[in-house]
Each structure stands twice: as structure tokens, then as C-alpha cells.
């Protein structure tokens, strides 16, 4: 099966999962105690006003009707209307999603860029001091809550040293006119990087630690492979063996762990956005919940699910593309 067909099939397989996510979030959202209309109109609204609002948002119809209406809406790209923001849910999500994606991508970039050298050094110098340091660092990394790393970074690097801002985020593609103290796009870019640095480390540390652990064990395995022994027997220099022969094969499990790490990272993004007061998807879902904005809660949860599912598919495809042993489509 060609890569294209494999890709299409993976996306087709994701559809039932997405319907499942819509179903779960719909029924969870309907369990929420309290009345969104009351939140909109205050505790003692006029009866006809309540009914008008209920009719307008379809809250007066039975649950199964609302479910199928919602499902068909989602299928056509209509995620409903946010009562709290008084705007379509999709519009709010489109506003916030780029922020969260930027945060996630930079966190993974940081994680991969630090973890791979750490893991390789660790595997190459197994049981030497460098290995011990790298293992302790990754152990601490997987055991530390990301939001606490964020707090400590703010205290040290924002409050004491004053090197980085403690809150907010500037998107690199913002118009310079909308950014304080930035005259050119380059200035905006610089500010963006400046703001992104601490949240990126807070969110990326856990991923960095996990990737380091996998990279190490994968490289240790790989360095014991037959092909490495053969290369050594032929007198290939050790550095070439590590760089060329062992390294490439060892990256496959790393790709898997990146895919699985997405779930943790998306949850971590909610926490990181809270710590650094970044207006992304994480803050959006918390605001939606605190204001019982049903359709916004469902929409944000669904989009979190979609991001995760798409991320896993992308890593799967990368995996099968890189590993010549994988034949597409044989279960």
C-alpha cells in the first residue's frame, strides 16, 4: 500500500474516534449542574426572557435531538455559539489555537533538541559520570510538575534576574502596530521569542526527560546491534558508527514517544497557560467551564482531541515513512 493510501486510511480510522469524543463531551457537558441561561441573565430573570434564550440556543429541545443537531453541526464545521463570549465557538478556537500550537511546537522543539544529545551521550558513555548526570536530570524531569517548574522559572528568571517577562505571549505574526515597543516585524519576533522562552522550558521539560530516557535505552540497544558489530569489525571509526549506523535506527522509538507525549503536553499546556497567563486553548477551556458555556466546553474539548489524534497520526506516518520494515496496511 502506498504512503498516501496509508495516510488516508489512518485518517478514515480516526473518524469513529472523533465521533466518540464528540459523544463523550456532549454527554459530559449535559451533566453539568447549573443553568447557563441563569449565568447570562442573572439569578432572577424574567420568564419570557429565559424562554427566548432557551429557544434561541436550542436548549428547550430533548437531549437526543440536540445531540444529533450538534453532531451534524460538527460535521459541517459548526461548533455552536459561545454564550459567554457572544461569538461562534469556532471563531474563539481559531483565535486561541495558534497560541497553544506555538507553545506546544516550541516545547517539543526544545525537548528534542536537548534530549537527543543527552540521550546519545548517556548511551555512549554508559555508567560514566555523564550518563549518571543525564539520568538524574531526566528522572527529575519526569517527576516534576510542569506548573511548578513554571513558578520557579518565573521567580528566578523573571522576578530576580529580570531576564524574561513573567506573563503573556506575543504571536510572531502579529502586526507591529499592535505590539507595544515594537516598530518592525523583527522586533515582534524578538519579543515573541522572549515571551516564549520560559513557558517553552516549563512545558518541554517533561517531554525532554521522557525523550532522553527513550533515546538512551534505544541507543544502548542499537549500539549492541549486529550491524554495529559488523561496522566495528570493518574498522569503521566509533564516532561514525554512533552518528550513522546506530543513531538512525534508534530514532524510531523516539518518534513513538513523541506521539504519546502529546497527550501529556496538551494537558501541560492548560497548566502552563495558567501559570504564565497566556490566552490560549487551555485558558479558553477553563473560562468556558467557569462560566458554564456548554458549547464552548464541548468545542474546546473536541479540538483538544482532534489535535491529539492528528498528532498521533502524523507521528505514525513519520514512523512508517522512516522505518523501511513497516509495510503499510498489514495489521
Amino acid at each position: 500500500m502506498s504512503l498516501l493510501r496509508y495516510t488516508l486510511r489512518r485518517f478514515a480510522q480516526a473518524i469513529p474516534v472523533l465521533i466518540g469524543i464528540v459523544t463523550i463531551t456532549f454527554f459530559l457537558a449535559n451533566q453539568i449542574p447549573g443553568d447557563p441561561v441563569e449565568i447570562m441573565l442573572g439569578p432572577t430573570p424574567a420568564q419570557e426572557q429565559v424562554e427566548a434564550i432557551r429557544a434561541r440556543y436550542g436548549l428547550d429541545r430533548p437531549i437526543h435531538v440536540r445531540y444529533f443537531t450538534y453532531l451534524s453541526g460538527v460535521a459541517t464545521g459548526n461548533l455552536g455559539f459561545s454564550i459567554y463570549y457572544d461569538r461562534p465557538v469556532l471563531e474563539m478556537i481559531m483565535l486561541r489555537l495558534p497560541v497553544t500550537l506555538l507553545l506546544m511546537l516550541s516545547a517539543f522543539a526544545f525537548a528534542v533538541a536537548t534530549a537527543i544529545p543527552l540521550g546519545v551521550i548517556s548511551a555512549k558513555r554508559r555508567n560514566e559520570p555523564a550518563d549518571h548526570v543525564s539520568r538524574v536530570v531526566s528522572l527529575i524531569g519526569v517527576s516534576t510538575p510542569s506548573f511548578w517548574i513554571g513558578l520557579v522559572l518565573i521567580i528566578v528568571f523573571a522576578f530576580y534576574l529580570g531576564w524574561f517577562p513573567a506573563r503573556g505571549l506575543v504571536l510572531p505574526w502579529t502586526d507591529p502596530a499592535d505590539v507595544r515597543g515594537a516598530a518592525t516585524q523583527f522586533e515582534v519576533l524578538r519579543q515573541s521569542a522572549h515571551h516564549l522562552f520560559l513557558p517553552m522550558i516549563a512545558l518541554g521539560t517533561l517531554q525532554m526527560a521522557q525523550i532522553t530516557r527513550i533515546e538512551r535505552s534505544s541507543m544502548v540497544d542499537s549500539l549492541q546491534g549486529e550491524y554495529v558489530k559488523l561496522a566495528r569489525a570493518y574498522g569503521v571509526p566509533e564516532s561514525t558508527i554512533v552518528r550513522k549506523h546506530a543513531f538512525q535506527v534508534a530514532q524510531l522509538p523516539v518518534i513513538t514517544i513523541i506521539g504519546l507525549g502529546l497527550s501529556t503536553a496538551l494537558g501541560g499546556a492548560v497548566l502552563t497557560e495558567t501559570v504564565f497567563e497566556i490566552q490560549g486553548m487551555g485558558r479558553l477551556i477553563i473560562t468556558a467551564i467557569n462560566n458554564q458555556d456548554y458549547e464552548l466546553i464541548m468545542g474546546t474539548t473536541l479540538v483538544f482531541g482532534i489535535v491529539y489524534v492528528v498528532g498521533v497520526i502524523v507521528t505514525d506516518i513519520t514512523y512508517s515513512y522512516l522505518d523501511p520494515r513497516v509495510t503499510y496496511g498489514e495489521d
Binding site: L28, F147, L262
Partner: protein
């Protein structure tokens, strides 16, 4: 849950390995074997010490709370709530100084924004973290074992349905799922625990199911079936005990993961509510005072770190001790 994926990845293939010979299978299961291995493995031993210490602290706090009504905590670590005239807010740890005053010996780690002693609150937070960690893991383990065992043993449409459902649960980032779950049912600690437990079900389900599928075809299971042993008994007497080692490793790591998630939830305002001294909630409160009293934000985080490190080291140690293929 990806924190554990490192181990679950390693676990999956060894279903085949351990079934190398009937004698070896016999020798490598059970509690006694596990204890012996743990004693010989340095990492596992260090992990045991940390987890043991934290459990001791938690039990002490529970005893003081339920039986003595905070008698020990108040006697040793002076509580300002019983002495409202003398509230000293946001004090630094002993030997340090900040704008609110000098650290004093009665409050070795300083005080919080209401003048409560940070050391005693951190100690009492242990009780909550450990309870939540163990119970959430138990829910995930119980649910995952039943679903995974049934799914793997019967196969067919039962397997398909159960696996699709757990896959869907797994496809929602777990923190988001728990938040949605708690919004629907309740924002307190009980629901945090149940929610985190539910997100752990797919992890154990997958582990148990893969074990069951590989063990199902073993000769001794065939023999039991031929002898007329009931399916349920085969699952619970033969298949589940044979999955003991990887499940124990996974469960140990899961306790740490659960503690991290519940701390995160409490930090966001889902879970322990004030005045309950949970670590996540303490960190959430400390956010308002990071500039004048930074040490307030430090200690609850260190407590989380040490506890989770304990479970991670123990899990890694168990992995090494119980899986003879890995020689580090």
C-alpha cells in the same frame, strides 16, 4: 499516559519471553520473588525507602488528623488559627528574611498567606497526595484489569467494542478529560481521584489485554480449559497472576503520575478546595505572593518532586529487578 510509556513499551514484548519454559514461569511470578528481587536491586531499594518514608508521613498525618484531631501538629508546629492575635503571614524559612519579617524556629519552612505553618501543611499534604495516588491507581488498575482480561480472553466483538471505547477515552488528552468529567460531576477531590482513575484504565487495559492474548494460548491454560475449569477462574487464577510483574511496575509508576495530575488539577482549582492542605492547592495560593515570599512556592513543589521521584525510582527498579533481560 506517556510518563509510563517507557515501561509499557518494554513490557509489551516480554509476554513471549517469560513463557520460555514452564519452570522459569513458575519462578518469576508472585510476591515472594518480587520482594527478593527488590532487596537485591539498589535502585528499587532507594525507591522503597522514599516511598516508605512518604507513606509513613502520610499515615502519621492521617493518625493525627483522624484520631488526635491535629494534637501533634499543633503542639509541635504552632497553628495561628488557634491564636488569631498572633498571625504572622508569609514568613520566610528559619534563618532567612523577607519584607514580612525574620524566619522563626516555630515555623521552620515559614508561613503561608494566612499565617499557617508551611511545614505542617506540607506534611498534611502528603496524606492527600498518597491517598489520591493509590486510590486513583486502584481504580485504573481494577477497571483496566477487568476490561483488558475480558477483552483479551473472549476476543471477537466484545474485544472490538471494549477496545474502541477505551481508545476513545485515551484520545482525549487526559487532563482535559478529567476537567470535563469533574465539571459534569463535581469539583472536589473525590471526583479528581475517580477521573484520574478512569484515565488510567486504558493504560492497564492495554497491558493486561496484551498479556492475556499471549497467555491464552499457553499449554497450561489449554489444559485448564480442557479440564473443565470455568473461564472466570482461568482469567483470575491463571492469567492475571501471570501478569503480575509488568502490572506491578506500571501501577507503581501510575501512582506517581496520578499524584502529578491531581496536583495539577488542584492547582487549576479542580480537586482539593481550601482550606484542605493539598500541594497543588498550596502552589495555587502561592502564585499571588511569588515576588514578596518566593519560598512559599518552593516547598510544596519539592514535596511533589520527592514523592513522585520515589515512585519512579521504585518503578524503574522493579522493572530492572523483575525483567531479567535488562542488565544495566
Amino acid at each position: 499516559m506517556s510518563i509510563n510509556s517507557a515501561t509499557s513499551d518494554d513490557d509489551t514484548p516480554d509476554g513471549g519471553d517469560e513463557s520460555g519454559g514452564p519452570d522459569e514461569v513458575e519462578a518469576r511470578v508472585g510476591l515472594r520473588y518480587t520482594l527478593k528481587q527488590v532487596r537485591q536491586d539498589t535502585t528499587a531499594r532507594i525507591g522503597t525507602y522514599i516511598v516508605g518514608f512518604m507513606t509513613f508521613v502520610a499515615v502519621f498525618a492521617a493518625f493525627d488528623y483522624y484520631v488526635l484531631d491535629y494534637a501533634i501538629a499543633e503542639a509541635v508546629l504552632y497553628n495561628p488559627e488557634t491564636d488569631p492575635q498572633n498571625v504572622r503571614r508569609l514568613l520566610p524559612p528559619v534563618g532567612m528574611e523577607n519584607q514580612f519579617g525574620q524566619g522563626v524556629l516555630e515555623h521552620p519552612l515559614g508561613t503561608d498567606h494566612r499565617g499557617r505553618d508551611l511545614l505542617s501543611r506540607t506534611i498534611y499534604g502528603t496524606r492527600i497526595a498518597m491517598t489520591v495516588g493509590f486510590l486513583a491507581t486502584a481504580i485504573g488498575l481494577g477497571g483496566g484489569t477487568v476490561i483488558g482480561a475480558v477483552s483479551g480472553y473472549y476476543g471477537g466483538w466484545i474485544d472490538d467494542v471494549l477496545q474502541r471505547v477505551t481508545e476513545t477515552i485515551y484520545a482525549i488528552p487526559f487532563l482535559v478529560l478529567v476537567i470535563a468529567f469533574m465539571t459534569a460531576f463535581g469539583r472536589d477531590l473525590t471526583f479528581a481521584m475517580i477521573g484520574v482513575g478512569i484515565t488510567a484504565i486504558p493504560v492497564f487495559n492495554r497491558l493486561i489485554r496484551s498479556r492475556v492474548v499471549s497467555i491464552r494460548e499457553e499449554d497450561y491454560v489449554e489444559a485448564a480449559r480442557a479440564a473443565g475449569v470455568k473461564d472466570r477462574n482461568i482469567i483470575f487464577r491463571h492469567i492475571i497472576p501471570n501478569s503480575f510483574a509488568p502490572v506491578l511496575v506500571q501501577a507503581t509508576l501510575q501512582v506517581g503520575v496520578s499524584i502529578l495530575i491531581v496536583a495539577g488539577l488542584s492547582f487549576l482549582g479542580f480537586g482539593a478546595q481550601p482550606p484542605t492542605p493539598s500541594w497543588g492547592q498550596m502552589l495555587s495560593a502561592s502564585r499571588g505572593y511569588m515576588l514578596p515570599a518566593p519560598t512559599f512556592s518552593i516547598f510544596p513543589g519539592i514535596a511533589i518532586l520527592i514523592t513522585v521521584i520515589g515512585f519512579n525510582i521504585l518503578g524503574d527498579g522493579l522493572q530492572d529487578a523483575l525483567d531479567p533481560r535488562i542488565n544495566n
